[in-house]
Symmetry: C2
Subunit: 210 residues, 2 copies
């Protein structure tokens, strides 16, 4: 058995509103139960079916700002007048135990993560087309026509920033996209710079005198 | 349909003699017929079952050195008193046509490839253990005991240089190892720095006025 001292990898998933990040992550986690999902904190109102501690920790603005002052976030961002942030300690603990973590954050937050954790893997999810994105947002029935158009303009801005990400995935067929995300995870596992190569050599030699 | 102007990726596979590079590559190519296998030129004698133009182009030393002087190699190396090299032009042509290429070369050659083609992906194949590697070389029945021991000492030296590679694969079960190599290929396909992101954005907008 080859030993390699691999730490967990942090996968950061971003993409325009309505691209289907939740659907993709749900399917990915079902097939990869060894991956931990990092739950963000936010001050935005829960959507229909969203539960505290499941999709997000829904915090008051006061509570969020208190945590921010104590430096308890890996990243935080303001988006559409709401605050979003990721508590740092639980993530570090998982990664140090060799557990992969996946998180779903906005592009402003993703930049901060990459600055603090160089080894994080940034994945940008794009829709098959803008027309398809618009239709998905419309089906959600949570935004007005005006809000939808603002989302689409925002999507184009985010798409431009997307170029700083490591990988992109086209979210067309969820089943296929999950497989592509799994391939990215597998490949990252095989990266030599993520492991202790001396330990690999030592475990190869084990019980052998050349 | 998202367009991204992706060029082909060059996958360089190395690993100690006897690790089973040929077996792995054969299986990989069978499952991925769209990948081109780059055949190296060498001055070493063909092994049993090896055919000119199939495993290698078997060249005389004179012919090899003439090509070398004309700068016709992407990389070349001397190994165990034999010369090995990869003709450059056919590789460039494939990559520019968007075709992935896989090549099997020694570590000295791999370094030269990475120097010349920064975007090449270097994969290092390791055996599950040194004892297993010895047994595989013995089964080949082409080397004397003395040559086998030299191979094993060489393997340890190469293993150390392996740390400059991008990825490693443990060649235990060929079927699994092929899947891991396929995951690496898939992940590299999704890398944003390999594509034209502006073209992606343009094709997303197609037929849509935000």
């Amino acid at each position: 058995m080859i030993e390699c001292d691999k730490k967990g990898t942090l996968f950061v998933l971003s993409g325009p509103s309505g691209v289907g990040k939740n659907t993709l992550i749900d399917q990915f986690l079902k097939r990869n139960p060894d991956v931990h999902y990092s739950i963000s904190a936010t001050t935005r109102r829960p959507r229909k079916h969203e539960k505290d501690g499941s999709n997000y920790y829904f915090l008051t603005e006061e509570k969020f700002k208190a945590m921010l002052e104590r430096g308890e976030f890996l990243e935080w961002a303001e988006f559409c007048n709401n605050l979003y942030g990721t508590p740092l300690k639980p993530i570090e603990k998982m990664l140090n135990s060799g557990i992969d973590v996946v998180m779903d954050i906005e592009i402003q937050g993703a930049k901060q993560v990459k600055d603090k954790l160089k080894e994080a893997v940034l994945v940008f999810l794009i829709p098959p087309s803008l027309a398809e994105l618009k239709s998905r947002i419309q089906n959600r029935q949570t935004e007005t026509e005006q809000e939808i158009n603002a989302r689409l303009r925002q999507a184009l801005v985010e798409m431009d920033v997307g170029r700083m990400y490591d990988y992109y995935l086209v979210h067309d067929n969820t089943e296929n996209t999950v497989l592509e995300l799994e391939a990215i995870r597998q490949a990252e596992t095989q990266k030599i710079r993520r492991i202790n190569w001396d330990k690999v050599i030592d475990s190869l030699k084990e019980g052998f005198n050349a």
